[in-house]
């Protein structure tokens, strides 16, 4: 499950559909040593900023660098936790409010093996992955997304 040599492409053009997530869950049914999964889903939130409403986030990236960083993040998790699988996906392009733009999936033998990992991985992605979000408002103006420690 852990093919350390291959750098996977985390990027998906457009939103991450519930169908995609379902297929990802389904593909783990054959791995019968897994007892626990945790999934994080980041959904584009329709924030209200100075009376204007966020209707979408347009994501771009330096894809190669971001893929390498996510690969390194995964490696470091595999080195430090007894997990079986980890997957990271991130959207590119204009993702509407209500749609999912980030999907992190971790699986291990017991629940205690996977707690806290989603938080760790997402923090690392937000800090280190060369991805850029442009928040688009309902009046077609925009602002550049700024990451913080809680959002």
């Amino acid at each position: 499950m852990n093919k350390k040599k291959v750098i996977k492409n985390i990027f998906i053009k457009g939103p991450i559909t519930s169908d995609f997530i379902a297929k990802s869950i389904e593909s783990h049914k054959t791995k019968k040593t897994i007892g626990a999964h945790e999934l994080f889903l980041g959904q584009v939130r329709s924030d209200n900023i100075k009376g204007k409403e966020v209707v979408a986030i347009d994501f771009t990236a330096q894809e190669k660098m971001a893929n390498k960083i996510c690969h390194d993040i995964k490696e470091s998790i595999f080195d430090n936790f007894p997990i079986y699988c980890m997957h990271i996906y991130h959207s590119l392009g204009k993702i509407k409010a209500g749609d999912v733009c980030v999907f992190i999936f971790v699986s291990g033998p017991h629940r205690s093996d996977i707690y806290g990992i989603l938080k760790l991985v997402l923090n690392e992605i937000k800090k280190k992955a060369s991805i850029f979000g442009k928040e688009i408002f309902n009046d077609e103006s925009h602002q550049w997304k700024v990451n913080n420690n809680y959002d």
């Binding site: 390498k68 979000g133 550049w144």
Partner: protein, 77 residues
């Protein structure tokens, strides 16, 4: 040297371009940024990082013929 420079996110918006070919005698990151700001004064005081060969470089020699990426603050996730 002709450098291929790629711009991302807010930086691409500021210079109104995703990719440019820039001639510069600079052989270090610092010197190159100086040249770049002369060409694009709007970048003065802006926060960005420089990468070559998909690696962030804070200082030191420029790699000849390698594309230069200009990356604003990350805001994925």
């Amino acid at each position: 040297m002709d450098y291929t420079v790629r711009y991302y996110g807010q930086i691409a918006e500021l210079v109104d371009s995703n990719e440019e070919f820039i001639f510069s005698e600079a052989d270090t990151i610092q010197k190159f940024i100086k040249d770049l700001i002369q060409i694009h004064p709007i970048l003065k005081g802006k926060t960005f990082q420089v990468a070559q060969n998909n690696q962030i470089k804070r200082e030191g020699a420029l790699i000849r013929k390698a594309v230069i990426d200009l990356l604003p603050q990350f805001s994925g996730g």
